[in-house]
């Protein structure tokens, strides 16, 4: 490995899966099958990460100013995990004329054990080799941990259908987890579903032969969700501080500051779904439509009742809160063949919203103003639509000192425009009080999982060529660019090359507060003098949400493309191969999104996304050969 290798994070995983299945078909009762299966999986993972520093440029002169940090860093981690799985079940199926029924009962156990160890060392400004031993020993850190968890469950299911036309299913699960206190480990989760395949009706088959499938579905049932941290039911002790009992040494203190959480158990998720599936003209037009509601109850929360200081500890978590997700799913498929050209298109889209329907802590919450309530109250409110506040530009940038001094609106929450500089954007004083504060925010879609998401897959083949394309997209979301991040603008005096189009002085750095200085305009406002009494970052322009820090996060991306060519069988067989295929694939080849997001990954989230790696375009050329 040479000195000029780039940043990387590589991982390799070796997995050994061992499965054993035994099936016993009872000779005495036809339709009864007993199966036992066991799995023993062993996974080793290794991860090597190299983080090197990168150059920064002076914001006045555009010259190379230095590196973001003085060090290079290499880390390595190894982990091992073992999964043990066992399942026993008895399945009985019986069909009498058009009556079909099945019954199943089973039990399963899963145990997972894992352990890992990792180490890291830094290099100074001179990076040598990517091995732990090459780094500076004084910077060495290491860590390691083990885990040991288990779940178990029983399942029972009965299904019945009449001629594949009327379908009914009843199911019950009884699930256990190690997370909770004895007595709170097990939860019972029943469900049922009904189906009606209209297309099986004789009058449909007779009159509408192109209607290959049309099915109405309804299902309603519970599943369990594990919440809270494991072993919180034990009164447990953590370390805190040191005390000297004998000169020259100290003893670490251990304390407990929470009661045993013996009351918490599973959260129940009730899923209700009504759906329609269809298939016309032998799969030429197919699809499905679902409308669903998912209610999660018994979410972990603390009782809002007030308790005196004398208890000495806060109340335990209990199953208290409730939330719901409501949404639509649409899937449309189209498959066709024209001569030797086959193609297949699958579109899927989801629109889903979430809200908290009961929040215990709201009972005692105090809101000091309607604004406070508007921004802080969450119970019963659909999430995301108005949780991110941002200023609105009222038009144009301040072109110079005259305009700044003449502005009737104060931008500094003070009596003078002390921190203003040319190039700053004019902001709409929404509440008309003459001062720009967070009360002037407009609220918009927040930066979270987008409510509207879609995917499009197109695949086609012609003779020996095959092509597949995979698009993803999302809407009703905003992304926040943190200007204080390493790629930000306004906080550090060295800026990323993204920000070279900014208001700056024609003569390089002189004095930005000189009223006679000549300015060159740009998209970004001028920077204040770093280290002066005015910290530019504290100004709304850099520090708060603006149209250039809160941008529409909608996007469509060509996430994957595969183009393949299979060599003709008669050729490959001559060289002893059974098949050979040449494939060219690429990922993230095309992204349509807001210009400001282009350097980043619009699918990324939050802080990581801001300072993280830009989206990676990948091309791969490969040959698959089978002998």
């Amino acid at each position: 490995m040479s000195n000029d290798e780039n940043n990387y994070s590589r991982s390799s995983t070796n997995t050994f899966n061992n499965n054993l299945d035994i099936t016993y078909n009872a000779p005495f009762l036809s339709g009864l099958r007993i199966t036992a299966s066991g799995a023993f999986d062993h996974t080793n993972n290794q991860n090597n990460t190299l983080t090197k520093n990168f150059p920064m440029y002076n914001y006045w002169t555009n010259e190379l100013a230095g590196y973001n940090v003085d060090r290079n860093r290499y880390s390595e981690s190894w982990s091992k995990s073992i999964r043990l799985y066992g399942r026993t079940q008895a399945l009985y199926s019986k069909s009498i004329e058009s009556h079909n029924m099945t019954a199943m009962i089973g039990a399963e156990v899963t145990k997972n054990k894992g352990q890992n160890i990792s180490a890291r060392r830094d290099f100074g400004d001179f990076f040598t080799h990517a091995t732990i031993n090459s780094g500076d020993a004084s910077t060495a850190t290491n860590s390691g941990s083990r885990s040991d968890i288990a779940t178990a469950g029983y399942i029972g299911r009965v299904t019945y259908d009449y001629a594949g036309k009327y379908l009914i299913e009843l199911m019950g699960r009884y699930d256990g987890t190690y997370v909770y206190a004895p007595g709170k480990r097990w939860g019972f989760f029943p469900s049922y579903s009904l189906g009606y395949r209209i297309s099986e009706e004789k009058f449909i088959k007779d009159n509408l032969p192109w209607l290959n499938n049309l099915k109405l579905r309804w299902s309603d049932g519970y599943t369990g969700s594990v919440q809270g941290s494991a072993y919180a039911y034990l009164l447990a002790y953590s370390s805190s501080g040191n005390y000297v009992f004998n000169d020259g040494g100290q003893i670490q203190g251990f304390y407990n500051n929470s009661v045993a959480q013996t009351l918490l158990s599973w959260a129940d998720i009730r899923m209700m779904d009504f759906g329609v599936d269809w298939d016309f003209f032998r799969s030429k037009f197919g699809g499905s439509f679902d409308i669903f509601k998912r209610v999660t109850s018994g979410i972990s929360g603390k009782s809002s009742e007030s308790i005196p200081d004398f208890y000495g500890v806060s109340l335990p978590n209990m199953n208290l809160n409730e939330s719901e997700n409501v949404g639509l799913d649409v899937s449309l498929t189209h498959r066709n063949t024209i001569g030797k050209f086959n193609y297949n298109v699958v579109f899927s889209g989801t629109y889903a919203r979430y809200r908290t329907t009961y929040l215990e802590s709201e009972k005692t919450k105090v809101y000091t103003s309607s604004m406070n309530y508007y921004t802080g109250h969450t119970e019963g409110r659909w999430s995301d639509a108005r949780s991110l506040g941002t200023y609105k530009w009222s038009g144009g940038q301040f072109s110079g000192w005259e305009e700044i001094n003449a502005s009737p609106i104060c931008y500094d929450n003070r009596t003078a425009q002390q921190q203003m500089l040319p190039g700053m954007y004019k902001i709409d004083d929404r509440n008309g009080d003459g001062i720009i504060t967070s009360s002037d925010y407009y609220y918009t879609w927040s930066e979270s999982n987008p409510p509207l998401q879609m995917g499009l897959m197109i695949s086609a083949n012609w003779k020996n060529f095959d092509l597949s394309m995979n698009f993803t997209g999302a809407a009703l979301v905003n992304k926040q660019i943190m200007l204080s991040g390493p790629h930000g603008y306004g906080f550090f005096n060295n800026v990323n090359e993204l920000y070279l189009d900014r208001w700056h002085l024609a003569d390089g750095y002189t004095d930005p507060y000189d009223p006679t200085a000549e300015w060159i305009p740009g998209y970004w406002p001028a920077l204040a003098v770093s280290g002066s009494a005015f910290n530019s970052y504290s100004h709304a322009t850099y520090g708060s949400n603006q149209p250039y820090t809160v941008v529409n996060g909608s996007f469509i991306r060509l996430k994957g493309l595969n183009l393949g060519y299979s060599l003709p069988k008669n050729i490959v067989s001559k060289v002893g191969m059974s098949s050979a295929r040449i494939v060219l694939s690429g990922t993230n080849l095309l992204t349509v999104c807001n210009e400001l997001l282009k350097p980043y990954d619009p699918e990324g989230r939050g802080g990581e996304w801001i300072g993280g790696y830009p989206v990676i375009k990948n091309y791969t050329l490969g040959i698959n050969v089978n002998f």
Partner: protein
């Protein structure tokens, strides 16, 4: 059919085996690898030690002269703060930890994990720490809710009646602390083999002596700062002590002191010096390391990690002694009021009044408010030949405890000067100007560079906290022999001299002048400072000796509070501003009594402390469903 049944039973067996194995699956896991269970913690004495480490960390011990800055004896450099109650305590989560610990060690003893004697020691330590916490609580709030056992199982989610603990009366609270200390004294060994910084019988007796004296004083002097009985807390005796209670507490104090003294384990450190210089050296040396003859209880900062100890030397050494790059130093200024209180030696090494003489007419009651504006050059000040002349004949303990103008520290002559009077023209204060006399250049601050002087820099402007504002700084605890950036000197929380002084005060308060052995002990303490005369053990003499001997040991604020002497309208802290006077044929130094705190907001009437302020506001009294204190009504 038989076959069918067999298979049926086989399936049933498989499933029930599944059930069985599922439950054992959960029980045979490694468990919580990130934390320890209570059982784990008390399964070894090392675990118990770690629980105790946390409890010891929670002791509300006031350290390093921090509370003295709220009294007339010392000040932070940029404020003239006065008032504030002694360190308080209201952490029922700590009380819960202690109560749970007591249960746990009991269970460990029952399981024979720890021996009876290990149990007794751990129990004694827990009771000692809990008593210390409640002591801090009672002296701040009066009667308090006493949680004597774990309430973990009292939460029922339906009213939680068991969690609401009413306030005990102030007397009941004091009595509780004292009786708990009696339990601790009975349980603790004479020598705690777990470490010299853990409580033993003597620590508990020493604390009892302090607590009993506190309770006695509050009782006897409650009417010095009476609060009307129209306040609920007073009418319910939650913040009330009757003078008739006093003698009982004085007896408890005397008894505890006598047990300590008669044990023969303790003595004054270096009681018979041969000179003032030796006495000075000894007294300073006492605080540099733990001297077991005076050590009843305290805290070590010698943790084996040089870089994580306390920063007393770094924060409090004078500016001149600091290498560049430090950002705070000289943080404890000693007031002129305190300096005046130290006696001078007469020719036979008897004690005489040590008030600094500044004026020819002998009027030492006048203080110039803001010398820069109000200094009157026509007043006849005594002209001294050197800046240190007024201080060199003072009590050895002054020499060991206070940095004064022109004294030596770390081989440097410490310059503390605030004004200059030129040969002709107006004097200058707090602005560094120079004038020349006989070919020698003199500066306002005693030196040209601010890094070469230690006092009064920018007093009239933005006060700089790194230069003494009173003319004096703390020397006690500063260790000139060690690097300046860390301190590992121990903190004496309870030392033998305090026990002697507690004894003297209790005896004299209860039984009158010279009662018991009070005169002997008083003069032993004075002899250690090389005072060769004898003083009568009057209350006044004992209290003065206490102020001097325990100066900057976080005792003064408590003494003034318990004796209800904190209440005073118009108190203020004073400074002594050395001024170089060039009006004569050679340079002389005059000393201006001044009152010049920039942030002293009420310059005409001074600072006040009201009777109701002796009791702090009860935290969360509405939620806690208890009565508030007078200050909250």
């Amino acid at each position: 059919m038989d076959m069918k049944n067999n298979i049926f039973y086989a399936i049933l067996f498989c499933l029930s085996f599944g059930l069985f194995s599922c439950e054992t699956t959960f029980d045979n896991l490694e468990g919580d690898l990130s934390r320890m269970t209570g059982e784990d913690m008390v399964s070894t004495s090392a675990g118990i030690e770690r629980l105790l480490s946390y409890l010891y960390q929670q002791i509300p011990m006031t350290t390093w002269a921090s509370s003295d800055k709220s009294t007339l004896d010392a000040t932070d450099n940029f404020t003239a703060s006065y008032g504030g109650r002694p360190t308080s305590f209201w952490s029922y989560s700590v009380i819960r930890s202690i109560n749970n610990f007591i249960i746990q060690i009991g269970e460990a003893k029952d399981k024979n994990i720890i021996s009876e004697s290990e149990y007794q020691t751990a129990l004694g330590e827990a009771l000692f720490i809990r008593a210390y916490c409640y002591f801090a609580s009672v002296r701040s709030y009066g009667g308090i809710p006493i949680v004597g056992e774990s309430l973990d199982d009292k939460y029922d989610g339906a009213g939680n009646e068991g969690l609401y603990i009413p306030r005990s009366t102030e007397k009941e609270s004091w009595d509780f602390v004292l009786s708990e200390l009696d339990r601790a004294i009975a349980a603790l060994p004479e020598t705690n083999t777990g470490g010299r910084y853990r409580a033993d019988k003597w620590a508990a007796l020493g604390l009892k002596s302090r607590v009993a004296l506190y309770a006695a004083s509050v009782s006897k002097y409650w009417n010095n700062a009476p609060i009307e009985s129209s306040y609920t807390a007073v009418s319910k005796q939650l913040t009330y002590m009757d003078p008739s209670y006093a003698n009982g507490y004085y007896d408890q104090c005397i008894d505890a002191c006598e047990q300590i003294i008669s044990s023969g384990r303790f003595s004054l450190y270096m009681p018979m010096p041969a000179s003032v210089a030796e006495a000075t050296h000894n007294y300073h040396e006492l605080f540099m390391s733990r001297q077991d003859c005076e050590w009843l209880f305290g805290r070590s900062y010698n943790n084996g990690v040089a870089t994580s100890s306390n920063g007393f030397d770094a924060n409090n050494s004078p500016t001149q002694s600091h290498p560049s790059g430090y950002w705070q130093w000289g943080r404890t200024s000693i007031t002129l009021d305190m300096v005046d209180a130290y006696d001078n030696y007469d020719v036979a090494f008897g004690g005489v009044d040590g008030t600094i003489n500044t004026r020819v007419d002998g009027d030492e009651t006048f203080y110039v408010a803001q010398p820069k504006v109000n200094f009157n050059p026509s007043i006849d000040y005594i002209k001294y030949d050197s800046p240190d002349a007024p201080f060199v004949n003072k009590d050895a303990r002054f020499q060991a405890s206070v940095i004064y103008p022109d004294c030596q520290f770390r081989g440097i002559t410490i310059k503390i000067q605030g004004g200059i009077i030129p040969p002709a023209g107006d004097p200058t204060f707090y602005v560094n100007v120079s004038h020349t006399l006989n070919g020698i250049t003199y500066w306002t601050f005693g030196a040209e560079l601010t890094t070469d002087c230690s006092g009064f820099f920018k007093m009239d402007d933005l006060p700089q906290s790194n230069w003494y504002s009173t003319g004096f700084g703390i020397r006690k605890y500063l260790d000139e022999s060690k690097p300046i950036d860390y301190s590992q000197n121990p903190w004496y929380d309870i030392r033998f001299t305090e026990i002697l002084l507690n004894y003297c005060e209790a005896q004299v308060e209860k039984n009158g002048t010279n009662a018991g052995l009070s005169k002997t002990y008083l003069n032993q303490i004075r002899r250690r400072a090389y005072f060769l005369d004898e003083r009568e053990a009057t209350l006044e003499n004992i209290l003065k000796e206490r102020r001097i001997e325990l100066a900057f040991e976080d005792d003064r604020q408590q003494t003034l509070h318990r004796r209800r002497e904190f209440v005073a309208a118009g108190v203020r802290k004073h400074a002594l501003v050395p001024v170089v006077d060039l009006r004569g044929s050679e340079a002389k130094w005059i000393f201006v009594r001044a009152n010049n705190y920039p942030y002293d907001t009420d310059k005409t009437t001074g600072l006040t402390y009201l009777p109701i302020e002796y009791y702090g506001g009860i935290p969360n009294y509405v939620v806690n469903k208890i009565d508030p204190n007078p200050i909250q009504e």
